[in-house]
């Protein structure tokens, strides 16, 4: 067991580079499938040395699968522990600060809390003692969790070292499908319960490339919905109401005039597909309740009827066009809307944040340098940001810039130096700025001035940059069955390979790209 002092000193963030290296190693190994297949001794060679050659080839092939499985398993375990350790440390620090703020002392070596103060009354002393006990209990809990995360990781490292991770006899891509320790050995029901939420779905589908069912519905000209059925059976729905139906929107006592902005977009969540379907059927009824059949331009009474019905189902997010919001009294604080319409967006009444959309363009002129002399480069980007109007995190909470280049050679013109980027072929570029990134204030200032181009340029320099290079040929896009093998306690899945995509990430405030490997294979 590591002491409290040890745990507090752990720098799990340093292990992120290890995780990236492991992911990269995994993808390199998976890429060797053609070579290992081609290394099989030819069938025409039967006699003499052919027999041991064939046996050796098969042994090498299986060993390669094992190596890939080990690397993948350790990567998964590592990524999980990094998260768990950081979480425990943050909680520990918070409780220690609280204890010290209350006048207690916390011994970093033993974790023992002491109170050397004297109290005027027994009641005061009892209260302090109770508080101290509670904090001590909590510190012990998080200290234990940190040690558990360490133990779990050590277990995975030891298993790999002892050669206990099985790569199987199939392809290398099959061998790397390894669940992280928290999901390993769960039954299918337990898995579904654990991974039913959105974030987990994204994670598990990266491991398994699971497909969700998607359904859609519409009332012609008035409303439509798309929904996804998640692994735990819950449904996430995007409901879109056209201007006519949406104008009855009434939130927090103030009626929003969305006629300028057009449509209303809502995000809703239901426990089951049946519940979602009943909800959609109910909109029809709510709309037609007043005997009106012309939904292209429904009267206000119908609109508010529909709205009342929807409100009862507690939408998670309610978005209206930004101009709809502005035509009321409130302006986006300090944000100049571009007169030429390059800035647009929405306001989310539930989340109390603006979504800002715009476009930007970064240009570069290489002047007289070498082969690219006189050549200009231009990167066109779509910009999307979220801006919170209330609360402690007021201001931009998220900022994304996305674009695409037709030729990866173009990226170099913008000082984007990605080792291993294949010449030719297109690439998608995405960069994000997080409010915690240094340099964020400058980006925000540029945006508030309406200078999207400058904002983009700064974000490219300082933000997290993700480059995805898509191969020019697609590997078979056939749908594969998703199956959970109960007997082995492991999940078997066909890896769905659509396009082979290489992904590089330059974390914010760094200047190097780390190869994350091939998407669609365990990542």
């Amino acid at each position: 067991m590591a002491t409290l002092a040890d745990v507090l000193s752990w720098d799990a963030g340093r292990l992120s580079s290890t995780a990236a290296r492991l992911a990269s190693s995994r993808s390199r190994l998976v890429d060797l499938q053609d070579e290992i297949d081609g290394a099989k001794p030819p069938l025409s060679w039967q006699a003499g040395a052919a027999i041991p050659a064939r046996e050796l080839h098969e042994r090498l092939r299986l060993r390669l699968n094992d190596l890939a499985a080990e690397v993948s398993d350790v990567d998964m375990a590592l990524e999980e522990s990094i998260g768990n350790i950081k979480k425990a440390q943050a909680a520990l620090q918070q409780r220690i600060d609280e204890a010290e703020g209350a006048g207690f002392t916390v011994a970093r070596g033993s974790g023992v809390i002491m109170d050397s103060r004297t109290y005027e009354t027994q009641t005061d002393a009892d209260k302090a003692s109770a508080r101290m006990d509670e904090i001590a209990h909590s510190i012990k809990h998080w200290h234990n969790l940190a040690n558990e995360a360490d133990a779990t990781l050590a277990k995975a490292l030891n298993a790999a070292a002892r050669g206990k991770v099985e790569g199987g006899a199939g392809s290398i891509a099959d061998a790397v499908v390894q669940l992280p320790p928290s999901l390993d050995g769960l039954t299918p029901d337990q898995l579904a319960e654990r991974i039913g939420k959105d974030v987990a779905i994204a994670t598990i589908s990266a491991y398994l490339n699971a497909e969700f069912e998607v359904a859609s519905w519409k009332i012609e000209g008035a409303a439509n919905a798309d929904y996804k059925i998640m692994a735990d059976g819950s449904v996430v729905m995007a409901l879109h109401l056209e201007a006519g139906l949406g104008r009855g929107v009434n939130i927090g006592g103030a009626e929003a005039d969305v006629s300028g902005g057009g449509a209303v977009d809502l995000e809703m969540r239901f426990k089951s597909q049946e519940e979602a379907q009943r909800f959609l059927d109910g909109i029809d009824d709510a709309a037609l309740d007043l005997g009106v059949t012309d939904l292209v331009s429904p009267p206000a009474a119908v609109a508010s009827n529909v709205w009342e019905y929807i409100e009862k189902h507690n939408p998670e997010s309610i978005k209206t066009g930004i101009y709809g919001k502005v035509s009321g009294e409130v302006d986006i604080p300090g944000f100049e809307l571009d007169a030429e319409g390059r800035v647009d967006g929405y306001y989310d009444w539930k989340k109390e944040e603006f979504g800002v959309k715009g476009s930007a363009s970064i240009e570069t002129d290489l002047g007289g340098k070498g082969a690219n002399s006189g050549v200009e480069g231009k990167l066109d980007l779509a910009v999307e940001g979220k801006y919170k109007t209330e609360g402690d995190d007021k201001g931009f909470t998220e900022l994304n810039f996305t674009g695409a280049v037709n030729s990866s050679a173009d990226l170099q013109k913008f000082g984007v130096d990605v080792p291993g980027l294949k010449a030719g072929g297109g690439a998608d570029v995405e960069f994000k700025m997080n409010p915690k990134d240094p340099g964020f204030t400058h980006v925000q200032e540029a945006l508030q001035r309406g200078d999207m181009d400058q904002a983009a340029k700064l974000a490219l320099e300082n933000g997290q940059v993700v480059i995805r290079q898509t191969a020019t040929t697609e590997i078979s896009g056939e749908d594969e069955e998703f199956d959970i093998g109960v007997a082995e306690g492991k999940v078997e899945a066909g890896i769905k390979e659509t396009a082979a995509t290489q992904v590089w990430v330059k974390p914010s405030n760094t200047s190097t790209f780390v190869e994350l490997g091939t998407q669609g294979v365990g990542k």
């Binding site: 492991l22 890429d31 001794p41 522990s81 050590a154 490292l157």
Partner: protein, 111 residues
């Protein structure tokens, strides 16, 4: 029924060997053992730090051994291809014939 000429088989043996060597180079490049070095400094006093050390040397040995075994086999196959002669060819043909005829004992023939 035509059978491939005697030149083809050695060239196939060499081609397989070349693929094996490429795989070996790939495995060598994929060796991640030195990425585990950072554990000791990042997680002092932890179980993982010592486990990582053990894994680093296990992996280094495993990746290197794979490369060496494959490299050696690459050489062995090139030798086999170089020394491939009529007797080998006859033996291979016989084996192929035997494989395609059920219940017959193969009789090597020479041409």
């Amino acid at each position: 029924m035509t059978y491939m000429s005697i030149e083809v088989i050695p060239s196939q043996i060499r081609k397989a060997a070349d693929n094996l060597l490429e795989a070996a180079e790939g495995v060598k490049r994929a060796n991640p053992s030195d990425s585990l070095d950072v554990f000791a400094g990042a997680l002092p006093g932890s179980q993982s730090a010592s486990a990582a050390k053990g894994l680093a040397s296990a992996w280094d040995e495993r990746f290197k051994t794979w490369f060496n075994d494959a490299d050696r086999q690459h050489e062995a196959q090139y030798n086999a291809a170089r020394n491939y002669d009529d007797a080998d060819y006859a033996a291979d043909r016989a084996a192929r014939n035997a494989a395609t005829q059920t219940g017959l004992i193969p009789t090597p023939t020479t041409r």
